[in-house]
């Protein structure tokens, strides 16, 4: 192996060259349209007629900036928690019923996935607004006399955000649960454990990698969420993404916008880096 004859070495070099040539157009697009732009943001955040850390000082000290970051993390945590609470039972059910039923359940889970984010924002506005379906139903049933403020606030934004991110929780959970051998549960039962005890001691711990994958995906996606909080949040719930867009579109604060974007990206990459020590990144990203 060490003394490869010349022609095959040449052939191998040609092979490598061909492969690099095949991958380069796609790579070029990625470099020009995501690596360069993000690099540009990073540069712009520290350079404006000379190097400056002024933008970062503002992000970390000025009230609106760190409050927005705190709010974004809070909302993302809440959304992740709710999505886990809602998604776990659905994934568990899909895993424990016959094939036909589980296909039906999973189809219902991914159905909204293929409905545009804007379309669903519209649907939630129609459902939750003061004259919307939910309020009319509540009035009709005599539950309330005054229409409830369900949208244009944090509540509305969270309801719609959880809705959009729920499939990202259910799919990795289901994929993990599928790999848990069912004889383990039977073994637990045959040893005299109650179903709830086998669930807590056997099933739950084995499903934790799926929980971690789902929570990571939902949390990270939520950190950068823009359309839903902008349309349903009513302007008071200013998430980091909205801070970036307002700094660009309304105030022309390009440096500050860039610094906020860099901090947000750094948070996302840090989370991926930490989580990838426990489960493979493919497992988180592999789910479409």
């Amino acid at each position: 192996m060490t003394s490869t004859p010349d022609p095959s070495q040449k052939q191998q070099r040609r092979e490598h060259g061909l492969m690099l040539a095949l991958v380069s157009p796609a790579l070029l697009v990625i470099l020009a349209l995501i690596v360069l732009p993000v690099g540009w943001l990073a540069w712009q955040s520290i350079y404006h007629d000379g190097f400056t850390l002024e933008n970062y000082r503002r992000v970390f000290t000025e009230d609106i900036y760190w409050r927005s970051f705190a709010l974004t993390f809070e909302i993302s945590l809440a959304v992740t928690g709710i999505a886990l609470l809602l998604g776990y039972p659905v994934a568990y059910l899909a895993n424990s019923v016959p094939k036909g039923w589980s296909i039906l359940i999973l189809s219902l889970v991914v159905l909204p996935f293929w409905t545009g984010v804007l379309v669903r924002a519209y649907a939630w506005l129609a459902l939750l607004q003061r004259t919307g379906v939910i309020n009319q139903l509540l009035r009709y049933l005599d539950v309330t006399s005054e229409p409830l403020a369900l949208v244009h606030n944090t509540f509305g934004a969270v309801v719609a955000t959880v809705h959009i991110l729920l499939p990202f929780m259910v799919l990795p959970l289901y994929a993990t649960m599928q790999k848990i051998p069912s004889d383990l549960m039977q073994a637990g039962a045959s040893l005299g454990a109650s179903p709830s005890l086998t669930f807590v001691r056997v099933f739950l711990p084995l499903s934790l990698p799926g929980v971690l994958a789902g929570c990571t995906m939902v949390f990270v996606l939520c950190l950068g969420f823009y359309i839903t909080p902008e349309l349903l949040g009513g302007g008071r719930t200013v998430m980091v993404s909205m801070l970036v867009s307002r700094n660009v579109e309304l105030y022309n604060q390009f440096g500050a916008a860039s610094a906020v974007a860099v901090v947000l990206l750094a948070s996302v990459l840090l989370i991926f880096a930490v989580v990838s020590r426990f489960i493979s990144l493919d497992r988180i990203l592999g789910q479409k």
């Binding site: 490598h16 796609a26 697009v29 889970v109 159905l111 545009g116 709830s196 990270v220 867009s245």
Partner: protein, 261 residues
């Protein structure tokens, strides 16, 4: 397992409620779009196509629709061959750098889209691509590439590269053996990847908000602006049509994938 314990019953009830929550917004749009009322009321008033008429009679909506379809089609035409050749190289090459390349090609899924959008806006502003059709198409090619690559890589995983070797040893050149032997076997994943890229371009909103303008505004940008101002049921009609289009495309893609499996 078969007897219905209280825990099992609770599981059914909770899951059913969650599923209703998931599909309710999808189901609500079509009735609004076919209703004659400005707001959704109980019981729904008469059936009407007035919101569809408003959509089809409005030149601004029609222009936006043309932009969306053009961008989505061009995105597929460009992103599919780029993605297929990249996926082929990643799966066949033994170069170590390919792992890094693979990760980089999935970057659009990792970087929050708002950051990508603002960054592209700054770069486009420098090179004069803001509010142009090529600018919009390029950005969507970048966003669609991961879908093509993931889909084609999955297809190539079940393909035996020895088959291509045989074709080449029989005298076909590399290109011909790819088109004659490899491509037919991964065709369904290529088509599925292209369809996902189309849907991604059709639904893309955030980048378009920053970089599109003038006569080259896609549907999503106009919808976003309209939604921010007022809830106009014309949007329900457009949403219904868009949803119907994506569902048909997804069914097509999954039918192909199943056939390929």
């Amino acid at each position: 397992m078969m007897r219905l314990s209280p825990a099992r019953l609770a599981l059914y009830v909770i899951s059913a409620l969650v599923l209703v929550y998931l599909i309710l917004p999808v189901l609500i749009i079509a009735p609004i779009s076919f209703s004659s009322a400005r707001f959704l009321t109980f019981p729904p008033p008469s059936f009407s196509l007035r919101w569809y008429q408003q959509y089809f009679a409005n030149p601004a909506w029609m222009q936006a629709t043309r932009v969306t379809l053009t961008v989505a089609l061009l995105t597929v035409v460009i992103a599919t061959p780029l993605g297929v050749s990249a996926a082929y190289a990643i799966s066949q090459s033994k170069l170590r750098i390919m792992r890094v390349v693979h990760m980089m090609l999935l970057l659009p899924l990792v970087v929050p889209i708002i950051i990508t959008a603002v960054g592209i806006f700054f770069v486009y502003a420098k090179v004069g691509l803001v509010a142009t059709l090529p600018g919009l198409v390029l950005a969507n090619v970048m966003l669609g590439l991961p879908y093509v690559i993931i889909s084609v890589l999955a297809g190539l995983q079940s393909f035996d590269p020895a088959q291509e070797m045989v074709a080449r040893s029989l005298g076909m050149n590399r290109l011909r053996s790819f088109f004659a032997v490899t491509l037919p076997q991964i065709k369904s994943s290529v088509v599925a990847g292209g369809i996902f890229a189309f849907i991604s371009a059709m639904d893309e909103t955030i980048v378009a908000l920053f970089i599109s303008g003038g006569q080259y505004q896609p549907l999503t940008k106009r919808m976003f602006t309209a939604l921010r101002d007022e809830i106009d049921p014309t949007i329900a009609a457009i949403s219904t049509l868009m949803t119907a289009a994506s569902f048909m495309l997804v069914l097509l893609a999954s039918a192909r994938q199943r056939k390929g499996a």
